[in-house]
Symmetry: C2
Subunit: 467 residues, 2 copies
């Protein structure tokens, strides 16, 4: 009895037509990264466990997949972690890579990385254990100018414009600005993370509920409890966060007019302004870029600019592409200070959601542009030569193998969604022509008799390879 | 104290310029596969252990990497294998994939797959624990015409011609023919594998040593010991295997003239002839294709045509691309009979060997064609607009961030191997021009003053994007 063939839960395996659409997406992302000069990096799927788990992060460690060869498994010491573990993101491998190859890299180091990552999560709807991340980062040595923060949304804009999933907005904010705001509103420093955490819920919960919870909750004020002040300052904070419109310049203006200025707030405002202006200068239209003070993006890693991206017509998807600026990439592996800025597209999750919503059409069903049929066994070698000729002209071509009836051959072409069939029998040979059958539903003309010498040019024309 | 950043042994991690060369190789392979209409498939890095290890193969199982989440690791039952294991090749995942999706695939099913595989081998020079395989296979349902066997060398020829690693030869043979030969020479059926194993050593050991060992060794004859006959028949076998020249037609002729004909041998000869002729008809020149009766290719999986590929000037590399025809792909997972033919390029090993031998030059050092320098902070927005314009024209462009001295900016461009620098200061602005600095050692002219309106066209021209 054969074993039931199946994949483990939590992976996305695609049939060829979907795989073609997914590859088109990854190719577009890669081309978009390269358009800005980012360099490719690939790292091994596994890292040494002691490298991967330097951050003794509870949640992360629980999700790690460990890897052991059969030999290691047999000798496993229950108290010791296995030597290898699968990467759970592309940031830790980047940190290790940059620290390891520091002397050989040219800073600011711009890298892109499109690889799968692994998380041993319990299987939930829409949660993947294996999924693609498409990351870019620019890493500076000691410092990294803000101009690089302005470039990130321009890269993302180019890619999502080309992917054509509909209108989208890249939201930017600044952690520095937020911290300045919390400081000048006199919230206690050790309550900032708590307040940011609550702000992060805007969009998931009603803002007035969050506001009430903060205003009426335990004291969060510097200098001790003062319920009236807390109430007022939370109200002022939410006034800024929630009442901002789509007008980014207006938001910056309101912040500048804020009557509790502080040096940190002023710096945050100036930086966000610079990033905003810089991104527009790179050709991103202002309808696709918006300052949004309510985005927070995690709670400790990012220190400056932060990014989220939403499909305007599908807010339920949440952010489809997020990132930000951080102070130091690789403190675990090197004493060099390596500030950076980056962003990540979770391609697997995005793709599967868009497919479910019918927002990803099929790019093409087949790789082949044409299928050369076998009409007459005596002409098989000539047909093979024709295929070689078409391939040399840059076309993707299949040759039907074997001597099945023509109807069966055409059915194969049709099921395979190959747009054109090439027929060459003794009748065509005598007439010095080749018959092309256009199999697409949209074809205006079904059959074309083409002079033998014009075959490649006419096939190219029909499949639209030539403008 | 930071942790020493390092990768596990047995992986190939590349610096960006090498990664660019490697990607160029993978892209060329992919394009070559698509030229023949093969469809992309990607499978998860891990399979369920019971799926992956259905063949209770001792050697394979010893090399498997098992995967466990932290939770699974804690609950591990010493007697039970972990649930997941990393794929060790692309053939078992293909078998599982085809069996699982059989109803949705269109046969003959042509797939390519370019992914990494994992083997928990002891680390040896040149042995990788993680490496790319680039596979194609055509899978038939019940039957698969020989025409597909003829196509495989044509695909490989197109790819290696484009990769330009120097002259190469694709060797073909037939397991059926070999079995026919052993049969008609009256070697005992249960000694065939042993004899093939010895033949497989030709190229590694001196043929006369192998011949002597077989001729003078224990009886391998059907019908009982007959030392004189054994001596003679081994001699006749080696005469055919070793004395064949580079002339494939001559080899086939010699086989046809063989005075101990048998139906199996005749079938093997006819099939190999058909594959040979079919490959030539697809445009492969006969200097790149050779029938070689001494290639055996493993010992049980393949049943018909077999392939090896050698770089003519580097025989020590051994076969850089091998495969063959098999009777039934997925007997472990389905009752359907699925014959197939395929071939595999071990890209990681090949790349690393060619780099060591200086046979892979650097394709390009940078992704970016041009770097826009910051000459005058007041013109930063205009420079950003110029970059956007060049990108819209299809060029890959970096913008230097920050206000470092021009010398430092140029040094960055130079170290990054970016071919062109774009300078635009107030002097250029007043004159309505942009200054292009060609940073390549080969540049005939170092500096070009280009009218502002011709910027994109001139940059394209300089980097050779336009013919």
């Amino acid at each position: 009895m054969p074993v039931q063939p199946r994949t483990p839960p939590g992976v996305l395996e695609l049939l060829p037509p979907q795989q073609l659409a997914f590859q088109h997406m990854l190719d577009t992302i890669r081309r978009g990264f390269e358009r800005f000069g980012f360099l490719p990096v690939e790292t091994p799927v596994f890292e040494l466990s002691d490298i991967l788990l330097t951050k003794t992060g509870g949640e992360t460690e629980k999700q790690v997949y460990f890897v052991q060869s059969t030999g290691a498994l047999k000798q496993a010491d229950a108290g010791k972690l296995p030597e290898l573990a699968l990467r759970f993101d592309l940031t830790v491998p980047l940190a290790r890579y940059v620290a390891e190859h520091e002397a050989e890299l040219n800073f600011p180091f711009r890298r892109y990385q499109i690889q799968r990552v692994y998380r041993g999560e319990r299987n939930q709807q829409g949660r993947y254990r294996e999924f693609y991340q498409c990351d870019i980062d620019v890493i500076g040595k000691d410092t990294l100018p803000l101009a690089y923060d302005a470039e990130i949304p321009a890269v993302i804009h180019g890619i999502f414009r080309e992917l054509a999933f509909g209108p989208f907005t890249i939201y930017i904010n600044s952690r520095k600005l937020l911290r300045g705001l919390l400081e000048s509103l006199e919230f206690a420093a050790d309550e900032h993370l708590h307040v940011l955490h609550e702000i992060d819920r805007i969009g998931k919960q009603h803002p007035s509920d969050i506001q009430a919870r903060l205003a009426d909750g335990p004291s969060i004020m510097a200098g001790g409890s003062d319920p009236a002040k807390q109430h007022e300052h939370v109200q002022r904070l939410f006034g800024l966060l929630v009442e901002q419109g789509r007008d980014s310049r207006g938001t910056l203006e309101a912040l500048r007019r804020f009557d509790r200025p502080s040096p940190l707030l002023a710096e945050g405002i100036a930086e966000l302004q610079q990033v905003y202006d810089g991104t527009l200068a790179l050709g991103v239209p202002d309808r696709a870029l918006q300052i949004n003070l309510a985005i927070v993006r995690g709670l400790d890693y990012y220190t400056g600019t932060i990014y989220e991206t939403m499909l305007d017509e599908h807010p339920r998807l949440g952010s489809i592409c997020s990132g930000g600026r951080y102070d130091n990439l690789a403190g675990h592996y090197t004493r060099s200070k390596l500030p950076g800025v980056g962003i990540s597209i979770g391609a697997t999750r995005l793709f599967s959601q868009l497919v479910k919503m019918n927002l990803i059409g099929q790019v093409r069903g087949a790789v082949a542009h044409a299928l050369v049929l076998q009409v007459d066994a005596a002409l098989a070698a000539e047909c093979a030569g024709m295929a070689a000729e078409l391939r040399a002209a840059g076309l993707n071509v299949e040759v039907y193998g074997g001597d099945d009836k023509l109807g069966k051959q055409l059915k194969y072409a049709d099921r395979s969604q190959i747009p054109l069939a090439v027929l060459y029998g003794s009748r065509e040979k005598d007439a010095g022509i080749v018959k092309l059958k256009d199999l697409r539903a949209t074809a205006a003309t079904r059959e074309h008799d083409v002079p033998r010498g014009e075959l490649a040019a006419r096939v190219k024309q029909l499949v639209g390879e030539i403008q």
